[in-house]
Homo-oligomer: 282 residues x 2
């Protein structure tokens, strides 16, 4: 496995590679990322994992500084997974001193994460477009756990005609249902137990949908109640950022669920903000 | 010469081409465009000219509908110039129904054309990024006549790491000094005579600079006076959009000219808006 530390090294390596799949990550890799690697390996001769905690997608009050950066562990996991190259650039190589370029997807970013994290998707699109142009992969793999990100990137690739196929990959969950996330490592035992109510709420919405309910507001209410139900455990409830049932293409809230739909939750457990979603009728 | 009418045809042709240079145009080709083709041919084995009047870079009150579209003349000129392929897509192939993507270059577009044509460079960057991804050239040629556009595109290519070299090409002028432009064909004989004061003002600024003047405001005043001087011909003066002396990299107005500088003018002659510039000390 080759470790590429600069854009120049990455371009030189890429020029000698064949059909290539990119797995863009911010590191702190877990089994969810490794499932993206496995998907990448099905699509291409070679797989490159980028590990870069992108400053431009974090807001001023967000957890950029706190975000975990266990690069040696990440390299070992990639090596074991049969990754061909890891691209781990420095921030000042990725963002040099010249004029900045941002990419706006105004039709998709006024809701959900885009609404709660202003500028987040500008930064995500910026870094992903840069990675697309540096790595020039034929395929890029993104997890469904970041559902809006997957949709925004897919739409960006289409709207700007990037010659790259975006491969969506299912969310991986812990045995008890918690969606895998690099931020889970911030959770205390008590917080982790409370965080479980997110996946529980989503599964409850899915069961309710499967039982025939098609009114989105009923599913939203069910999810909110589950998140706020402190039960008889004496737990503090989560702080909800949003609970929504949206069209997976437009990301607009639905009233009657008469086609594909996604239930999305963002909530804070202590200082840690978690997101998760389930696709209904999938 | 191959004429490509769809993105799909263009991609298929590109896959078989070698080192490729792109000359993006809105058609209505003149000798200035053909000098871009000649420059392209010096850089690459094959040259593709795109001819597309991009709707997203025109404001609601601008001349999108009036913009000339002499496609048969353009094809004949390209054929004679030894162009290998012309890409002439339909607007609904370039802009399909999905979510839109815009590219912002906020550090460069608050001045000059960007200030006077809100949204213009968002549309320019959008279509150029699309063309870059569809055509995947090694080189793309842009004229210095559209100085801010050249700077914005160069900076976009750098900031988003497009693997494409941007080749700047000098402005071509008529014998009397008027910068070649597709919009010159709108001018009546009288308007054309009046339009000459634009290049005259720029040349006067250049001569003044060459004589040792380094105070930008003096050059700006000289240009404004030249543009507004109706002389003894009884002409109506031009309507000035802006007259400026700016840093060629930051596009910020200069006070003391202690390095590279560009004088830029935008003015209206009747319904026709013209721009031109000269680089000082070049």
């Amino acid at each position: 496995m080759t470790v590429l530390r600069t854009i120049e090294e990455c371009r030189a390596w890429r020029a000698r590679a064949g059909v290539l799949a990119l797995v863009p990550t911010m590191g702190a890799l877990h089994a969810g990322h490794l499932s993206l690697v496995a998907e990448a390996q099905r699509h291409a001769h070679q797989t490159l994992v980028s590990v870069f905690v992108n400053p431009t997608q974090f807001g001023p009050r967000e957890d950029f500084n706190r975000y975990p950066r266990p690069i040696e562990d990440d390299l070992a996991l990639c090596q074991n997974a049969g990754v061909d190259a890891v691209f781990n650039p420095a921030a000042d190589d990725m963002y040099s001193a010249g004029p900045r370029a941002f990419i706006d997807m105004p039709d998709l970013t006024g809701v959900l994460e885009g609404k709660h994290r202003p500028g987040h998707f500008q930064g995500v699109c910026q870094v992903v477009a840069k990675l697309f142009n540096i790595v020039q992969p034929q395929v890029a793999c993104f997890g469904q756990k970041d559902f809006q990100q997957l949709r925004v990137i897919t739409a960006m690739a289409e709207a700007l005609n990037f010659p790259i196929r975006i491969a969506p990959c299912p969310t991986l969950r812990e045995a008890d249902g918690l969606a895998m996330s690099s931020r889970n490592r911030f959770l205390t035992t008590d917080q982790r137990a409370r965080a479980l109510s997110i996946s529980r709420a989503l599964f409850f919405a899915m069961e309710t949908f499967d039982s025939g309910v098609r009114v989105a507001s009923r599913l939203v209410t069910i999810m909110q109640r589950t998140l706020l139900d402190v039960g008889n455990l004496g737990h503090v409830p989560l702080s909800i950022d949003y609970v929504a049932c949206v069209d997976p293409l437009t990301l607009k809230p639905m009233e009657q669920i008469d086609g594909p739909a996604v239930c999305c939750i963002a909530a804070r457990v202590g200082d840690t903000r978690l997101i998760d979603n389930v696709v209904l009728g999938a």
